[in-house]
């Protein structure tokens, strides 16, 4: 389990939300939320789009490529923002990395 701690997000990371962090659309408040232990986080539209791409298969680099293409935006700026947001989530313990299959 200790491997899930102290994640350093880079473009090579393949992040995924752990079981205890649930991305969900809140019908009552009409907004996306992340449900986490005794906390509710409210990601904005772009954070939601990033998190929906975090499937443990795509790398952060691939996610950035996809967003840069979609928004015809400068890749470097997007990479900085995406890594910062994911690192923030990781520091709070609400992001994990896909584990290598060693079997």
């Amino acid at each position: 389990m200790a491997a899930s701690r102290n994640i350093s997000v880079s473009e090579a990371s393949r992040p995924v939300l752990p079981r205890h962090a649930k991305l969900k659309f809140d019908e009552t408040r009409q907004r996306w939320v992340i449900l986490a232990p005794e906390r509710v986080l409210a990601p904005d539209e772009i954070a939601v789009e990033v998190l929906q791409l975090c499937d443990g298969v795509r790398s952060v680099g691939q996610i950035v490529d996809q967003l840069a293409e979609k928004y015809a935006a400068e890749r470097g700026a997007i990479a900085t923002d995406v890594v910062a947001m994911l690192q923030d989530l990781a520091d709070k313990g609400f992001l994990t990395e896909a584990r290598e299959k060693t079997s």
Partner: protein, 402 residues
């Protein structure tokens, strides 16, 4: 593009780190949507006898508890009106034989479930069944870092060893773990070891919660009240550990408000963002609210909906917002910051829940209370009055704990 996350529970955060606070977003004292999270006290029964228990002195008997079907109906209603998280608490929630069924039902209706437990009644099999039912997070209370102090405070032999075992199972089952450590004069010296214990248990989060003094804790204040030196040392230790363990262990810190200059924003303000449901089904603004006499709290067994009780009942509206406030609160610049502090504490210490919380330096009672705390902390009364259904039992030495 600048993706941000907003935290709905934190009182404050630095916008420069990409986080803001949902609760402050367009929120004023007069607006109150349905809470994001609700505390369900399934039972007041508990194998532990902690002298600072947050349950009322008048405990609900087993026979008055809501039935399985009643709780299931409540859970469905909560999800329907927009509650997102349920905290199963008590007493000891695992004393309910239907806990797995209730967790499963919470999952079925879309609620995120937290279990707040003393852990001593859990088997690995039971914990595994709870995980399968969709339990999302487990919080275990610890009374110390080793059995001599911990079992004595809990008033139960072998409690500490069992907690350690259950905590390991929680992580083996890949559920996030919070260690809740309630701190007071007789265990604050163990704080560094408690922090290390939480790291060793691979906990995600540690709550260092100084005792809040109402109900059972008020009865035991002389035996529990820390000294000012202890509090200063504690704050220093927590700050150091928070910096050292960033990304490894999150540490939440609750200071004892007797030693604060301003009162805590209790429950985020009365009836603003939280309610709990007592074992017998009463909807309460906080778990200690029944200590305030003269307020009538409505039950889920009444013919009102939960949303109606939250929005319209007299008890919720009595101290909601800022309109009820007397001076010095009414003209205070901080009235929408702390909402006048804690109503239960104001009632317990001044006899009127509508007074300024004496934890505030602006309260005319503050000096007197602070001096009393210092005197009690310096005294040598360390015997506990243990929590039970008969109004408490004085510690006799040797028979409790290890």
């Amino acid at each position: 593009m600048s993706p941000t996350l907003t935290d709905a529970h934190q009182a404050a955060s630095d916008p420069s780190d990409g986080l803001a606070v949902l609760e402050q977003r367009g929120s004023t004292a007069e607006t109150f949507g349905i809470p994001l999270a609700v505390l369900a006290e399934l039972t007041h029964r508990c194998p532990l006898q902690c002298p600072y228990c947050s349950n009322p002195i008048e405990l609900d008997r087993g026979g008055s508890e809501l039935t399985t079907e009643e709780w299931k109906k409540v859970l469905a209603e909560l999800a329907e009106i927009g509650v997102l998280q349920i905290h199963f608490s008590g007493g000891e929630p695992t004393a309910r034989k239907d806990l797995v069924e209730l967790v499963q039902h919470a999952s079925d209706v879309g609620l995120y479930s937290n279990l707040i437990t003393s852990a001593v009644l859990l088997t690995r099999e039971k914990l595994s069944a709870l995980a399968d039912a969709g339990l999302c997070h487990v919080q275990i209370s610890f009374q110390g870092n080793e059995p001599v102090v911990a079992d004595r405070v809990a008033g139960l032999k072998n409690a500490h060893a069992r907690k350690l075992e259950v905590a390991k199972w929680v992580r083996e089952l890949d559920m996030p773990l919070t260690v809740n450590a309630v701190m007071h004069r007789q265990n604050l010296h163990q704080l560094p070891d408690i922090i290390q214990m939480a790291v060793d248990l691979d906990a995600d989060r540690l709550e260092v919660a100084n005792v809040q003094y109402y109900g059972w804790a008020l009865k035991n204040r002389a035996a529990l009240m820390p000294t000012m030196q202890q509090i200063e040392e504690t704050s220093r230790l927590v700050e150091q550990a928070q910096a050292r363990l960033k990304g490894v262990l999150a540490i939440d810190y609750v200071v004892p408000d007797y030693y604060a200059l301003r009162p805590k924003k209790c429950m985020g303000g009365w009836g603003r963002q939280f309610f709990n449901i007592s074992p017998a089904g009463k909807i309460l603004p906080c778990h200690a609210a029944e200590t305030i006499t003269g307020l009538e709290f409505l039950s889920v067994r009444s013919n009102h909906s939960i949303a109606w009780i939250w929005q319209n009942s007299e008890a919720f509206n009595r101290y909601r917002g800022t309109g009820w406030m007397p001076e010095p609160c009414q003209s205070c610049a901080f009235k929408e910051v702390d909402f006048g502090g804690c109503r239960c504490q104001a009632f317990a210490l001044t006899g009127d829940a509508g007074n300024t919380d004496p934890a505030c330096t602006l309260s005319p009672m503050h000096e007197q209370i602070f001096r009393m705390a210092e005197t009690e902390a310096a005294g040598n009364n360390s015997r506990f009055i243990y929590r039970n259904f008969s109004g408490g039992t004085l510690e006799t030495g040797g028979e409790h704990g290890a």
